[in-house]
């Protein structure tokens, strides 16, 4: 268990080691790899949202001068069913069919063929020469209509999973799940006040600035090397191996720097195409998506339809709650309904609840993970309902949450009992925060809401090399999305007792370091950090052994203090302490280079809670919502690098505010997305947002050597309801559906 300790380097905020290259343009991103004889791949995408593919004829494209290869679904091995773990996982066959359609196209923009040619222009021209014959089918675009008994089916072999008995008819409902405890009816009977709400949120995109890009080169021995932007090159390798039926040992994946991922770069799209095209053309193939392709064919998160009902006593004690949560999966099963269901009531002590969640197929892009997948949508419903409940009870919304807040020992709705958690500490901090105690500006409204994310552990590996002069090289396998190199350097420096500047961290490729799961689930600083700490402890043990041998004492007579080996107290040895540099300099004579290693499957990722506060102003003539001030308060366990923790909190708030105010997929009746660009898919620009104030709470995670909790995902959870509750306060109106685009808000104001 981590104690309140005075750390030397942990808790400082030095500049990230990759920073200079990133701000000067030297850093290599997904599209930056260029190789001799490289050619360019492009994807032909479906003009229909739903259609049967009758035939694909590549011959005219292949006959064009300068076109070196073309592939369609027929060029892929038969897609086998089977699960792939991890955040970008799911069913292998679905993954394969999403990468390249086989018998059917299931959304507008679904890949049906790909070509590689001497230039991008030529590749684009070749796409136009591909003949695809379609039999268009009616698109299923509405979540509720998709669930109707007589709905058009996306997949005639989709039978709803997890029902007590296998249904006799196929359905667009791919799966349901239930979570329940206690007696809901009795709980509601016990309630003095019951509130209910029904909320709809459309699909939204992660909005990473860097489009997907990769370069693949396959040699004549069949070995492939792939450079790509990814959140997890090891899992990309595993997925590519299954989709292409290739030996993992024949695949090498090298992760580039990454220009944003937010969950969306855990999914394989272009890489298998580039490998196949390279195999056929015997040349390296580069593929990059346009922004439009990113919107139409990669990872949005689910649109949802949620219903929630909450009962409470007059004093605010919650007596029962129910939730019905329908998530759009897009074209293939796999909406984040599970985490959505598991998180909705997680911040609260609740004896009686029932949750039903549904994973629903619609003719839209297959959803991918997006920061706390599923939680923002479901918790928006609960946090709005709690706000309404506080109003009905005449209670302060923070007090109502405090009255019911989960704490150490509370059994989470998804099973286990919470160890030490920081929800109450966040609520207390919010109640006392100057933002909450100062008067609300004239005409504005103030909203609060809570956020939560489980966080995960999973597998990580790390190596620590001590260079000849005592400097330290850490090698690990997680692409650095949010400053994790700096955090690894800090944890290694703290453990070894050296300065931050003496440590460098690099991200190894799939052949040069041990397996690590994706950078996702807010796991990297927690799990990979733990591996780095353990690898440093391995180094310390070796250093102590070397010092003992040098001094002619037993190993247990040596201790490691402030970066040097010293005799243990009471050991009578007239020797000078040996620093890491001393031991490294003498390594050749004491057993060779120093190499520390650790690999683990990290357990005990501590949940991270948050409370956010916003003041908004609503223009009653135009319906425009302006966020005047915003404060994010979150438990980080222990902030290894506080500035980057704050960066996560601010970034998550910015994305959540964007989602609440303007971001949405707008489809026409044919299922074509009408706003596939940043002009009309409106993520906030800098001037749309106030300075997002932050307060880091530190309730150490007992399972991590330095108390770390993942912080990357929780920040996006609260903002949706915070904005909705602030607008409720400003206007007196509960607007249930997001986003709060000006036309929607004005309509609500005018109809009131």
């Amino acid at each position: 268990m981590a104690e309140a300790v005075d750390y030397k380097v942990i808790g400082t905020s030095p500049v990230r080691p990759d920073g200079v290259d990133k701000v000067t343009g030297r850093a290599q991103y997904g599209a930056d790899m260029n190789l001799p004889n490289m050619i360019y791949g492009k994807v032909l995408r479906s003009p229909h949202a739903h259609a049967r593919i009758k035939s694909v004829d590549l011959s005219k494209a292949l006959a064009m001068p300068g076109v070196y290869a073309a592939v369609s679904g027929a060029d892929f091995p038969q897609a086998q069913h089977g699960e792939i773990g991890g955040e970008g996982g799911g069913d292998v066959a679905d993954l394969a069919k999403n990468i390249m359609a086989r018998d059917k196209v299931l959304y507008h923009g679904h890949a049906v063929a790909a070509v590689a040619a001497r230039s991008v222009q030529l590749a684009e021209a070749a796409l136009e020469a591909i003949d695809v014959s379609y039999e268009p089918l009616p698109p299923v675009l509405d979540l509720d209509a998709a669930m109707a008994v007589d709905a058009t089916l996306l997949d005639e072999n989709c039978f709803t999973k997890n029902l007590p008995e296998k249904p006799d008819k196929p359905s667009n409902i791919a799966a349901v799940m239930q979570l329940a405890r206690g007696d809901v009816e009795a709980g509601f009977a016990d309630a003095d006040v019951i509130v209910e709400g029904e909320y709809r949120i459309p699909m939204a995109h992660q909005g990473y600035i860097e489009p997907h890009a990769c370069t693949a080169s396959v040699n004549e021995g069949g070995q492939a090397t792939v450079w790509c932007c990814t959140q997890g090159h090891f899992e990309f390798r595993a997925m590519a191996s299954k989709v292409l039926n290739m030996n993992i040992a024949d695949l090498k994946f090298i992760a580039s720097e990454i220009g944003g991922g937010f969950g969306g770069k855990t999914v394989l799209y272009l890489e298998p195409l580039a490998i196949l095209l390279s195999q056929k053309s015997h040349r390296p193939v580069k593929m990059t998506m346009t922004r439009e392709e990113v919107f139409r064919a990669t990872g949005p998160t689910s649109g949802t339809h949620c219903k929630v009902k909450v009962g409470a006593k007059k004093d605010g004690t919650l007596t029962a709650a129910t939730a019905w949560l329908a998530y759009e999966a897009g074209a293939f099963a796999g909406a984040p309904m599970g985490p959505g269901a598991m998180s909705i009531f997680a911040p609260y002590r609740l004896d009686n609840f029932h949750i039903e969640a549904l994973d629903v197929l619609v003719n839209k892009p297959k959803v991918a993970a997006y920061r706390a997948p599923g939680a923002p949508q479901s918790m928006h419903a609960m946090e709005c309902a709690l706000d309404d409940l506080a109003r009905e009870l005449g209670m302060d919304p923070i007090d109502l949450r405090m009255k019911n807040a989960a704490e150490e020992g509370t059994q989470a709705p998804y099973g286990p009992k919470f160890p030490a958690i920081g929800f109450k500490a966040c609520l207390e901090a919010a109640k006392q925060h100057p933002h909450y105690t100062r008067p609300i500006p004239e005409g504005a409204g103030r909203g609060v809401a809570a956020g939560f994310w489980f966080n995960v552990g999973m597998q990580s590996s790390a190596e620590v090399h001590i260079n000849e002069n005592g400097t330290v090289t850490v090698v690990e396998g997680n692409p650095d999305i949010g400053g994790s190199r700096a955090s690894m350097c800090l944890m290694a420096a703290e453990t070894l007792g050296v300065t931050y500047e003496q440590v460098r961290t690099l991200i190894g490729d799939t052949e040069s370091t041990g397996f690590s799961n994706v950078t996702g689930g807010s796991r990297t600083t927690f799990a990979t950090g733990m591996a780095v700490v353990q690898a440093c402890e391995d180094i310390i043990a070796q250093c102590k052994a070397r010092a003992a041998a040098t001094w002619g004492v037993d190993e247990d007579q040596v201790e490691w203090e402030d970066g040097q080996a010293v005799p243990a107290p009471g050991v009578n040895a007239d020797v000078k302490p040996l620093s890491l540099a001393d031991i490294a300099a003498n390594a050749a004579r004491t057993g060779g280079p120093l190499l520390g290693r650790a690999s683990l499957n990290a357990q005990g990722a501590g949940a991270s809670f948050a409370v956010n506060i916003a003041d908004v102003k609503v223009d009653r003539d135009t319906g425009k919502v302006d966020v005047l001030s915003y404060t994010a308060i979150q438990d980080a366990g222990k902030a290894i690098h506080p500035a980057y923790v704050e960066g996560q909190m601010q970034g998550g708030a910015a994305q959540g505010i964007g989602w609440a105010l303007n971001e949405e997929y707008i489809f026409n009746t044919d299922g074509v997305m009408e706003n596939a660009g940043f002009l009309d898919y409106r993520i906030p620009v800098a001037s749309d947002l106030p300075m997002i104030d932050t307060q880091i709470i530190e309730v150490p995670n007992p399972s991590h050597p330095y108390g770390v909790r993942g912080v990357g995902e929780t920040p996006i959870v609260a903002p949706l309801a915070v904005i909705a509750n602030a607008v409720r306060a400003a206007t007196g109106l509960r607007i249930n559906d997001l986003p709060f685009s000006p036309p929607r808000v004005l309509e609500a104001l005018d109809n009131a």
Binding site: R682, V685, D688, P742, P743, L746
Partner: protein, 291 residues
């Protein structure tokens, strides 16, 4: 991107010769000033070969003349240059604030109001402001020079009155007299980097008592082209630009509008908001005119 040729004539005669050549051959020539619209359009599906005629190097398109009677702004003057001109800012604050809304700071280093006008987007921000300020297009072609009020220059979505062989040399405005001021407002869901859902430019002249003696009101993004709305000006004339007059002018803008519903706004929303913008812009223009 389709194939294209590029020419940058150094004077008007050369430019007109190039345009004439294409006009008589029936081949495609496209004018480029800042290029901020054209470069985006080059990437679209229309891959027909074309010759791009860059007019930035022509002296007459790059001149600003502020005379005692008339103000002339060359069609290739970028927004950033306009906005740094303090004399113009005092004369046409509304026109300049409209130019300042186009794109981003970086884009404004290139984007021109002449180009914004010729691109003839229904939502072009500077267009209602130019109409309100009484802008007149100076058009030059093989047959000489002709002039056309801005509101008559626009002929449809993306269409303007330039004949093959002609180019827009610049814009002329009558120098505003005392107690005259303009204002432009647009509505977007964000704070910047967006396209108007609706826009409204207003120019008013007041007498010494604060009574409106002249007014021009123009609206954007609510019809196939930006429109002059005489009925809105009528509502302002003779009034002290009080709330009733502003509301009546706003209602006239709503009545004159014929918007569409799209991803940026509904018909109903645009009709409401254009009235709001008219009221607010007219109030700003009034306060400016009062000094």
């Amino acid at each position: 991107m389709g194939a294209f040729a590029y020419v940058a004539p150094s004077n008007l005669e050369e430019a007109l010769a190039v345009l004439k050549e294409h006009a008589s051959a029936g081949t495609r020539a496209q004018l480029l000033a800042g290029g901020t619209d054209l470069l985006v359009q080059l990437r679209s599906a229309d891959k027909t070969p074309r010759t791009i005629v860059d007019i930035k190097k022509i002296a007459e398109t790059n001149r600003i003349d502020i005379g005692s009677e008339e103000v002339y702004i060359g069609s290739a003057i970028p927004s950033a240059v306009l906005n740094e001109n303090t004399e113009l800012a005092a004369l046409f604050p509304g026109l300049l604030e409209a130019a300042d809304l186009i794109g981003s700071t970086q884009i404004q280093g290139r984007a021109t109001v002449g180009g914004n006008l010729c691109n003839a987007s229904p939502a072009g921000d500077s267009i209602p402001a130019m109409i309100a300020a009484g802008g007149v297009c100076v058009i030059v072609g093989a047959k000489g020079t002709r002039e056309l009020p801005v509101e008559d220059f626009l002929t449809g979505v993306g269409k303007n009155a330039l004949e093959p062989g002609e180019l827009l040399l610049g814009l002329k405005f009558k120098r505003p007299g005392p107690r005259t001021a303009d204002a432009y407002l647009r509505f977007i869901p964000r704070t910047e980097m967006d396209i108007a859902v609706a826009g409204c430019g207003v120019s008013v002249t007041l007498d010494q008592n604060g009574t409106c003696t002249a007014a021009r009101v123009a609206i954007g993004a609510v019809a196939p082209t930006a429109l002059l709305v005489p009925a809105a000006a009528e509502a302002l004339l003779g009034s002290k630009l009080d709330d009733d007059a502003l509301t009546a002018a706003g209602a006239a803008c709503t009545a004159a509008s014929s918007p569409i519903s799209d991803k940026r706004g509904t018909v109903e929303y645009r009709r409401k908001v254009v009235a709001v913008l008219c009221r607010r812009a007219a109030a700003i223009a009034r306060d400016r005119a009062k000094g």
